[in-house]
Symmetry: C2
Subunit: 331 residues, 2 copies
DNA sequence: ACTATCAATGTAAGCGCTTGCAATACCCTT
DNA sequence: AAGGGTATTGCAAGCGCTTACATTGATAGT
């Protein structure tokens, strides 16, 4: 059986008795079409079951309504909430999100950037830090909106929406010091941002008169299991910490579970903090003190930037969405 | 400064001294081009920094190399591993994945399907069950590959890759019975699949001489917090269960944490099983007995189907990837 | 009544690529 | 030397839509 070719703009135009241009206008900016015409076209679209070919539209209009989101991973990522919010937010505007996983290495990133560029995406959203100079240059010279999220680099490739990781680290140092902790231990994932938070923490801590915190580096992506390992690694420390600052809520959760299994009470004997304020943090026993990043807010700002760009309005290139320490039971 | 328009196929063809057709062939099926010509084109592409416009290619070739993955959510989904594997797998073939979140309701699903169809995607991959008849019909009549994953319906829309949830439930019943448990309690997310597993479990359990298991329904998406609530809900039961079968590892984890907080030892006083075999399951204390679904395998089968379709080969429409009960400490 | 203005629509030229078909060149066969 | 294949390339017609520009008719200003 040969499927009858799906209707095109032309078909709709024919049954509505207007030109394709008018139908196109009706579809993209109805206000430009007279009311009576609108109605005719509406019913023609309706009856034919017409579905616009977005590919053709993208080619002709030089606007793909496709947005590439490049993230390191999604299985256990701290970015998940942001990504989810972003996809939700973008979808409402008729955009689609092409999700690409870049992993830890640069080759994948470059390949995915090339792909995104080839697909003429309207914007590329980065959620990892692009440290490779060459890649940054390539992105800069591409005439596409590039949004770096989560971080807030001094010189964004194009636009950056995020917060200062250094400041977040400092703030946590102040917070814990105020709470009376004196021997912090940092569990730091090997990612630029985590490192930055760690140095922010250490700098502040020392500046406030504390001793240089001990630290343990762990691989990314960080996960529950690393928390357990991190707890065990504490045994090797000369002096036991009174609080462990974890690079993610996952690590914090794993560490707490392992501590309990070892008979150590949290926070009485050992306090713990996480990062990311994942939903689980508020449900854990004890509930986990964490740092909240408003993923939905980031998503909204991304949309705002995109819309501004669409109308070629000027926008600030560094948007600070801040962070909030959420004090809970674990520290 | 006006950016010099990025090079097109035509430009490459010109510098290589061949026609655009030849360059196109070189790009898509090099073997059709003579060796010497290949070399000329290669260097022309190289020197111009040419990047194919995939949108134009999609329109002309009627092949978008875009695959839509429609999932309920990603933040805490049991599908995450599958989705991640799929994105990774697909990307290697020059495809990109458009990820769309459908949430629990049908409207979003329909909207996203329309969008996918409009974008001329090569395939639509579904990870939720599409129960709406109308939507199923629409998908059936669309000339696009539709792959339903995780479930294994009797009459797939097109191709289904998954396993029998009913059988998984039955198997778990056998497993727990053999281990000597006698009073199972089911924590069942309100999703078709979970329900199916639950009925499989109950059917088998009763058939094997057990009493009808008690059950608690919880909302989707399931998460850690629900595990805690589910544990507390046990108090309302007339008779305390000796094992709780959770609809997901998240729920199991939350339940265990809450049980421990209440001084109940797992599995000594209460056994627990999860579902999904998330990475965390093997790291939890106690490690969680779960059901493993090979997400990477599903991803590979998806690719196989897609490739077969590309060469219009016949393929089976129901591919069973099975499941494995992973016995660990919690039950 | 006459023109300037404007809203509504139509005309048609692309957007950058793929591919069926035709043309050409080259190599065998007989 | 003619006929038949085969491998390689070019020609040109789209793919289905958007949009600059032209056209038309109506409204308003004088």
């Amino acid at each position: 059986m040969d499927t009858p070719r799906s209707p095109r703009l032309e078909d709709v135009a024919a049954t509505a008795g207007v030109s394709t241009a008018t139908v196109s206008r009706y579809l993209n900016s109805p206000e430009k079409v007279a009311l009576a015409t609108r109605e005719k076209i509406r019913s023609a679209v309706q009856s034919s079951g017409y579905l616009p070919n977005l590919t053709a539209g993208a080619l002709a209009g030089n606007r793909s309504r496709l947005i590439a989101a490049l993230v390191p991973d999604i299985a256990q990522s701290i970015f998940n909430d942001t990504v989810e919010a972003m996809i939700g937010e973008l979808a409402t505007d008729g955009n689609s999100v092409v999700l690409a996983l870049t992993g830890p290495d640069n080759d994948r990133l470059n390949a995915e950037i090339a792909m995104a560029l080839g697909r003429q995406v309207d914007a590329i959203i980065l959620t990892g830090i692009v440290s490779d100079e060459e890649t940054r240059e390539r992105l800069k010279s591409a005439s596409v909106t590039v949004i770096e999220t989560w971080g807030l680099p001094e010189n964004p490739i194009d636009v950056a929406i995020g917060f200062s990781h250094h400041a977040a680290g400092e703030e946590m140092a102040r917070f814990l010091r105020a709470r009376g902790y004196r021997r912090p231990h940092l569990v730091v994932p090997r990612s630029t941002r985590s490192q930055r938070r760690a140095s922010g923490f250490a700098a502040r801590w020392v500046a406030d008169g504390g001793a240089e915190p001990t630290r343990l580096e762990v691989n990314v992506p960080s996960h529950f299991g690393q928390g357990r390992l991190s707890f065990r690694a504490l045994a090797d420390l000369a002096e036991q910490p009174d609080v462990v600052i974890c690079g993610s809520d996952w690590i914090a959760q794993g560490l707490i579970v392992e501590a309990h299994a070892a008979g150590i009470r949290v926070p009485d004997q050992l306090a713990v903090t996480g990062f990311g304020n994942l939903r689980m943090a508020g449900d854990m026993r004890p509930t986990i003190t964490s740092v909240d990043i408003d993923g939905a807010r980031i998503a909204r700002e991304v949309m705002r930037v995109l819309r501004a760009r669409a109308h070629s309005q000027e926008i600030e290139t560094r948007i600070d969405v801040g962070f909030r320490i959420i004090a809970r039971e674990s520290a």
